[in-house]
């Protein structure tokens, strides 16, 4: 019954190794899907390449389904899986700031690493920017702390907020994702361009 390491079914020492292996999978798939190109990534916002939508939502719903089915079969104890807590104010503002960063830079941090791995200099510069941005946050932290800690709703799940079951929420998200996949392909037909 998973998760294996928090329950010490495998030793803690394996954790970092597993992180490494997971990372390899992550980086490999991202690069294979073309996430190492900022032009492909930005395409989702202009309709000419919706790979971001398909891969992102595809991964989210696959993992979502996976977790729910594993829990159903008794293969995983969901109460031991980390659910990131909601801090309302900072989550929203942080999301907005990151959204600007996304459309300006054409990367998000995880993806930028796979781009750096194949030699994209713009990704390296993006990473440099991340360092600076984090440093700025760290230095400004005393001023931001109270906002950062405000609106703590705890590790809330959307299904709890909506009063529906996890499975039903997953179904809704899947429907939304399927809709987006369909729209995505439609957009790509409308805005054709050559491959990057």
């Amino acid at each position: 019954m998973g998760p294996l390491i928090p329950q010490e079914i495998i030793g803690q020492d394996w954790n970092l190794f597993i992180a490494f292996i997971v990372g390899i999978g992550f980086g490999f798939i991202l690069e294979q899907a073309g996430f190492s190109s900022s032009r492909k990534l930005a395409g989702v916002f202009y309709g000419y390449d919706t790979v971001v939508l398909k891969v992102f939502f595809g991964a989210a719903v696959t993992a979502m389904l996976g977790l729910l089915f594993f829990s159903l079969f008794g293969w995983i104890d969901l109460s031991l899986v980390y659910v990131n807590p909601t801090f309302l104010g900072s989550a929203i503002v942080g999301g907005i700031v990151m959204g600007i960063g996304f459309i300006a830079g054409g990367f998000c941090p995880g993806v930028s690493f796979s781009a750096i791995a194949i030699g994209k200099i713009d990704a390296m510069v993006f990473l440099g920017g991340i360092f600076i941005g984090i440093f700025m946050f760290a230095e400004a932290y005393p001023l931001l702390e109270s906002f950062y800690m405000s609106g703590n709703l705890g590790a809330l799940k959307l299904s709890d907020v909506l009063g529906i079951s996890g499975g039903f929420l997953a179904f809704l998200v899947i429907i939304a994702a399927l809709g987006m996949f369909w729209l995505g392909d439609l957009a790509e037909k409308k805005f054709p361009r050559e491959e990057y």
């Binding site: 719903v61 389904l65 159903l72 008794g74 980390y82 659910v83 039903f168 429907i175 994702a177």
Partner: protein, 207 residues
């Protein structure tokens, strides 16, 4: 069929299934039937009322008595320091930390042995440790500790030792009077070991 259509259909169908299936909130059984058989035959979970009396008298801090009867019965009489977790609510989340822990030695009791043993069986199958059953329950407690029978003159010495202890203990608990208390040589040499529970690490994560 293209990959796209396979993926989309697959997601849709799995989504339907997961939406309709009720959420799994059952706590799975950790011990197999074979394991349980071995355990109940070994009867290591049983503790005697003498032992409980001894622990109470010596104010053993690791003891936690759990009364599994109804709240009414608990009100009428309960052992000193006992908490009331009726068997009907023993699986509820709010009681989880009492029955699933690795610090105290829980001794479950009821009027006889059946009620407390039933509770023990369920808890043990869920893999919880450190729960014990007071043999004979309160009935036996009253018969032996509170109103001990004076052994006949032909009984072995240890019976007398037990009797002296019980008389004294009953004094502590509100029964007949008694003299100085010494632990009877009868009690188990080893107190049941408290199994340190592997603390389930709270999940960590985040960026």
């Amino acid at each position: 069929m293209t990959i796209k259509s396979i993926v989309m259909m697959g997601l849709f169908m799995l989504g339907l299934v997961i939406a309709m299936v009720p959420e799994n909130t059952t706590k799975p059984y950790k011990l197999t039937a074979e394991d349980m058989l071995v355990e109940v035959q070994g009867a290591a979970e049983m503790v005697t009322s003498d032992e409980v009396a001894h622990w109470l008298v010596s104010k053993d801090p690791s003891l936690q008595l759990i009364d599994v009867r109804t709240p009414d019965e608990f009100q009428k009489y309960h052992l000193e320091g006992a908490i009331n977790i009726p068997i009907s609510v023993i699986l509820k989340d709010e009681n989880r930390d009492y029955v699933d822990q690795g610090i105290k030695m829980n001794v479950l009791y009821s009027n006889g042995t059946i009620g407390s043993h039933q509770a023990w069986m369920i808890l043990r199958q869920l893999g919880f440790e450190n729960n014990y059953v007071m043999q004979g329950g309160l009935n036996y407690w009253f018969d032996t500790i509170m109103n001990p029978q004076k052994p006949s003159s032909t009984s072995p010495d240890e019976e007398f030792a037990k009797y002296d202890f019980r008389k004294a203990a009953s004094g502590v608990f509100g029964g007949g009077g008694g003299a100085a208390l010494t632990a009877p040589t009868q009690t188990k040499a080893d107190k049941p070991k408290i199994k340190r529970k592997k603390k389930k690490k709270a999940p960590a994560g985040g960026c």
